[in-house]
């Protein structure tokens, strides 16, 4: 499979503050990469560097084999994107907005405009002014605009904002379709992994400007290990029994990562070592934590 987008060691600073540190990842044709991180982690900045909206301090962005910095016009030609908000000209109709964008490409026909209107389900309201649209409809219009040039790389920054659950479901189906049928590579950012988990093929987590980890969702889903909190009489003699992902929290508490049968063995060992066990509790985890657990770390705090 061809690599559509390749991001290599991106660095970006605003003044003294380092916003991105060596950010690298890539997306293949037909893949959907969920780009996850808390607000302020550098998601939007990364996307803006990819799209040439902000200058790159160091590193490279290659789209379809073209460097965004040196061959902008060629690199951006087959990209569609929504950054931050689905901004459109409020005083124009939805159709006029699409026409303006279509005009900037040589091969976008009138039929294609009608097609994207149909795909995004805007037929009834397309001739209304955008100022009369709800946020959800503007989001749809933004998506229609971003796929009008039949891109092979679609970059969506928090596209689920403003969509109701029904809308989010529709968006998922649409994106899956685009990835499968049109072999688009899709980069989709969100601060909520749960939203993306069901349809992304890969996930990439960013925090404080650094990529923490990248993994495929399949690997993540295979996992059935859980964290358990164990209260004991003393944690002093336990150290030798611990594995890589286990931690001693204080004199009486420790946290371990085990499958169910492994946990039973572990408790037996504790008993054998004559350690008092007061409580064993399964820790409820968010998908994010689960992902991190699988990815081998407890770095997010």
């Amino acid at each position: 499979m061809a690599t559509i987008l390749e991001v290599k060691n991106l660095n970006k600073s605003f003044g003294q503050k380092k916003i991105l540190k060596d950010v690298s990842f890539s997306i293949d044709e037909g893949a959907i990469l969920g780009f996850i991180g808390p607000n302020g982690a550098g998601k939007t900045t990364t996307i803006k560097l990819i799209l040439g909206l902000q200058s790159i301090d160091s590193g490279e962005v290659i789209i379809n084999g073209f460097n965004i910095k040196t061959a902008f016009e060629k690199a951006i030609a087959r990209v569609g994107a929504i950054v931050e908000n689905p901004d459109s000209y409020m005083y124009l109709t939805g159709r006029k907005n699409l026409e303006l964008i279509a005009n900037t490409y040589q091969d976008v026909s009138k039929e294609r405009i009608d097609e994207v209107i149909k795909i995004t389900g805007l037929e009834n309201r397309i001739n209304d002014k955008v100022s009369k649209y709800s946020l959800g409809m503007r989001q749809r219009l933004g998506i229609a605009a971003s796929i009008i040039n039949k891109p092979n790389l679609l970059v969506l920054d928090e596209p689920t904002n403003g969509l109701d659950p029904e809308g989010i479901k529709e968006l998922r189906d649409l994106l899956k379709d685009l990835a499968q049928k049109e072999h688009m590579a899709i980069l989709i950012s969100s601060h909520n992994l749960a939203e993306l988990e069901s349809f992304c093929s890969d996930v990439c987590i960013i925090k404080n400007g650094e990529i923490i980890t990248t993994s495929s969702i399949k690997k993540l889903k295979k996992s059935d290990k859980s964290f358990y909190l164990i209260e004991v009489g003393s944690t002093k003699k336990i150290k030798k029994l611990l594995k890589k992902d286990d931690t001693i929290i204080d004199e009486n508490h420790l946290r371990v990562l085990r499958e169910k049968n492994e946990l039973a063995n572990f408790i037996k060992k504790l008993v054998a070592e004559d350690i008092d066990i007061y409580e064993v509790k399964l820790l409820e985890m968010t998908l994010e934590e689960a992902f991190l657990k699988k990815a081998g770390g407890n770095i997010i705090d």
């Binding site: 803006k48 909206l53 902000q54 016009e73 994107a81 901004d87 459109s88 409020m90 005009n103």
Partner: protein
């Protein structure tokens, strides 16, 4: 690139504001030409019979025993008498004009004899003379009056020549007499023009043209000196104005352009093009001041920059769009003015040429109206372009439409005041300020600017540099701008 420009035009022409300004300008133009039309015809309204009836009523309140009030009474009464004598003739006839301007003298004397001196004999003699005068006017023979004046001028000339023959005259006396002779000769020329071209004394353009010619020719006698000898700039400008009037009026008389005046549609349209039009400046500032900043304010800049065009092309297409809108509105404004002036002053004059005096060749030239308007337009084009580029630059730099609009507009509004203040000083360096240099209308046809420190090459260089600085920095700023996160 053409598609980008088309897109920009679509965005602009889908905004309501631009149509509102256009409508305001149409209304404003029609009102102002309507005022010109009224002003032209106002004199007739003021002199209506109604007005004189009221005046007559007021006469009754005067106390004729009071010396001072009697004087006023005589003055008012004379005015009424003049009107009564004149109204026998249509208001646009030469008779009406002659009575209005000459009968006061006769009638005043008569009234003085009647009311002040109470001398019936004198009154009767004066009345006879006046009746004879009226009889002559009724004869519809205006040449009679012109010939009368001609005779008197010829007499004066003969007398002056006689006096000049006297060899005992001092240098000074001789100079005075020679000057008098020259003045009389000009007056004679004026009278001859009237006889030759059938121009009676009346309120027509032709008659005014003769008067204007005579006046300027007499003034030109005094001012026609070497320009180097003028120390004061104002005097030099006055001399040039006199020279221009003298040659152009003469040209018009000699070439039978007797109807040509400042108050005809073609002259007004030509003159309008010589100064920047506020309406156009408003449109320019509004378009150029928002075309970049608004995209930033509304966030649409991101969508725009994602298109397969370099930032240079995107900004250039916006700049070209501003120029296109500017040209469209100039054409629109010219069309509206063309119709408005045509409706109020007649369309006929549009086929006539504009008469120009060229100070380089010292010759009068005829200029096709369109060519004349174009020349004026090109001469003030830098004002528009600098304001446009300034608004565009600020729009790119600050990305705040409000600030870009306000600053650019204030620069234009206060440029006149600022230029006036600079002209009062003697610092040459201040003349390098762009607003001092950006209007080239003063240099047209070999003319000189009112400010003695200004000159064309300097003004041109300053204007070009100003433009380049604004234009180039707009592109540099835009090229390196990071699209900030919200």
């Amino acid at each position: 690139m053409i598609n980008l420009i088309k897109n920009e035009l679509t965005k602009i022409f889908h905004k309501k504001a631009i149509y509102i300004i256009a409508i305001i300008s149409v209304v404003f133009t029609f009102i102002s030409t309507g005022i010109i039309y009224l002003a032209e015809n106002l004199s007739n309204i003021a002199e209506s019979d109604n007005y004189y009836q009221i005046l007559e009523e007021s006469l009754k309140s005067y106390d004729l025993n009071n010396r001072e009030e009697l004087n006023w009474y005589i003055d008012e009464k004379t005015n009424i008498d003049v009107h009564n004598a004149a109204k026998e003739f249509p208001t646009d006839s030469w008779q009406y004009y002659m009575i209005s301007s000459n009968a006061y003298e006769y009638l005043n004397k008569m009234n003085v004899a009647k009311y002040l001196d109470k001398d019936d004999e004198a009154y009767n003699t004066l009345k006879e003379a006046f009746d004879e005068y009226l009889e002559q006017i009724r004869n519809n023979d205006w040449q009679y009056f012109v010939n009368q004046e001609k005779e008197s001028i010829l007499n004066t000339i003969a007398e002056t020549q006689n006096e000049l023959a006297d060899s005992s005259l001092s240098e000074e006396e001789r100079a005075t007499l020679e000057n008098n002779l020259a003045v009389s000769n000009i007056n004679l020329e004026g009278v001859n023009y009237r006889l030759e071209k059938n121009i009676p004394y009346d309120n027509s353009n032709a008659s005014n043209l003769v008067s204007e010619y005579v006046t300027s020719a007499i003034m030109y006698l005094d001012t026609n000196k070497d320009e180097e000898s003028y120390i004061n700039r104002e005097d030099l400008i006055n001399k040039r104005n006199t020279e221009e009037t003298y040659y152009t009026t003469k040209y018009k008389l000699e070439n039978n352009m007797l109807e040509d005046s400042m108050f005809q549609a073609n002259s007004l349209l030509y003159a309008d093009a010589a100064t920047p039009i506020l309406f156009i400046v408003v449109v320019i500032v509004m378009i150029a001041g928002t075309i970049v900043s608004e995209e930033f304010n509304k966030g649409t800049i991101k969508q725009l920059l994602l298109r397969p065009y370099s930032r240079f092309k995107i900004l250039l297409s916006k700049y070209i769009t501003c120029l296109i809108v500017f040209i469209l509105f100039i054409l629109f404004y010219e069309l509206v003015s063309f119709i408005a002036y045509g409706l109020s002053l007649g369309f006929k004059s549009y086929s006539l040429p504009i008469i120009i005096y060229n100070f380089t060749t010292h010759q009068v030239m005829e200029l096709n109206l369109i060519k004349g308007i174009l020349m004026n337009f090109v001469s003030i084009l830098p004002v528009y372009i600098i304001i446009l580029t300034l608004a565009f630059f600020l729009s790119t730099l600050i990305t705040s439409s409000g600030i870009a609009l306000t600053i650019s507009f204030l620069v234009y509004i206060f440029s006149d005041i600022l230029n006036g203040l600079i002209s009062l000083t003697n610092y040459k360096i201040l003349r390098l300020f762009p607003t001092m240099c950006w209007n080239f209308n003063e240099y047209l046809f070999g003319n000189i600017p009112a400010d003695k420190y200004l000159n064309f090459p300097m003004a041109l260089i300053v204007t070009i540099i100003t433009f380049l600085v604004l234009f180039v920095s707009s592109f540099l700023i835009f090229k390196h701008k990071d699209i900030k996160n919200q």
